[in-house]
Symmetry: C2
Subunit: 289 residues, 2 copies
Amino acid sequence: MPTTRSIITESPTSKFSKGEMPLRELGPNSVAIKIMFSGICHSDIHQARDEWFEGIFPMVPGHEMLGEVTAVGDAVKKFSVGDRVGVGTFVDSCRECEYCKMGRENYCLKGNVQSYNGRHYDGGETYGGYAQAIVVDENYVLSVSKDLDPAGAAPLLCAGITLYSPLKHWKVGPGMRVAILGLGGLGHMGVKFSVAMGAETYVLGHSPAKAADAKEFGAKEYLITSEVSDSHKNFFDVIINTTSADLDVDALLRMLRVGGSLVNVGLPGSDQTYNPFSLVTRLEEHRRS
Amino acid sequence: MPTTRSIITESPTSKFSKGEMPLRELGPNSVAIKIMFSGICHSDIHQARDEWFEGIFPMVPGHEMLGEVTAVGDAVKKFSVGDRVGVGTFVDSCRECEYCKMGRENYCLKGNVQSYNGRHYDGGETYGGYAQAIVVDENYVLSVSKDLDPAGAAPLLCAGITLYSPLKHWKVGPGMRVAILGLGGLGHMGVKFSVAMGAETYVLGHSPAKAADAKEFGAKEYLITSEVSDSHKNFFDVIINTTSADLDVDALLRMLRVGGSLVNVGLPGSDQTYNPFSLVTRLEEHRRS
């Protein structure tokens, strides 16, 4: 069985070690990729530490892979050796359910095969991008322009699409006010995308030290969340929470305009609470008065 | 000062009594209405019992008023004596904010003047529909056809619009599956509207005895909520919660299709909880497995 040099964690409490891990056989539809860069995502930490669900160990995290095609199966049509490619958070889906058929494979009803800490439908474990190579079905490989800096492009495979998708879905553009909550790996991309889409963009957080970064990324203002929930009532069209911290959901809802959207892309491990009155503009006011 | 015969509650623990209560003076823009019918809404109970916020007592509840115009001010243009009219949950708004200007006065930024248990902008208390008459600015009076049964039409002023509005907003129609949670004053209207709009309509509840009513209103099936959250995963396009009970929010989210909507029109007095994973289809599956 082929193997590849990998960075491995043996258990939820282990440190990383280097070693050889199994690589999928090159099937007729698969693409072998030499991994040049792999992003580090907060969800890698959650999974390596078993904070979300029971993981499969040994684990090789990494789901923001950027590399070059080194071999292709006989039936591969979309890729050739030497192509610049990316692999994101999943490497297979059922291809038959309504969501797969409409190109929204991330909502596959059978459940996606996650790029690591998951199992292929044949039962084999998946190992991710903290490695020198990966073999993936061509349908789950993305073409990447060689004009992009490959190190900068890698995080687009998860952090990027995670922010781009809700901004696109909620039709962010000129005349809208967007708040990005948290200015980390996800947040800074959200700010850049939102600014590029023409929206008046703000960062919500709790670290005044990050204000300069926010401005540099194009944000109009860095706001301390706990201080502005009253002064910025009915203010934002879209708030995207990129943090996995416990939230004051009611305070965020209060800052939304009528018909606005609060999007959670950060995933706290614990339950969140909200008061139903916060969903009913003005009534909440009466209640508090 | 003019008065009108009313049904009054003196405190959150009082029984109702009958008496005379003040009536607004007939101004140039106001319409005097003889109330024929007034619906009884669960929110009347919440307010009469101070379950939402501190009420103004003595209180005359009632915000689903149906009646006939008995007098109009000199400047009134839309109504004449003898017209059949309705008054709903509010009797004034600022008329200047963005929401008032776009005809969504219910979201008035200054805060609506509630039909009862509220204050006019001049400070005067408002008294509602459990009375023989009311005087209201013509802009907050609605025209009602005399072809409608007035007793049946009264609850349309709150319960009706409360269900019609979200069904319309989420574009309910043929090919969609709608669940109405709870089959009371709100719920039965929701079922009828949803069926009339062409959606496959279900009732979610916990009382098998209500199954016959659900069918009679046109529902396809009456489902016991706690029994179907797994069998009906990814099933509904829209779920409207009409109850003010504490909810298993995660169970309801699990039943929604991708992009579906859970609408809360019932208002529990206490905080509700959800797990952020429930907003991320499939991941929640992984987590539970």
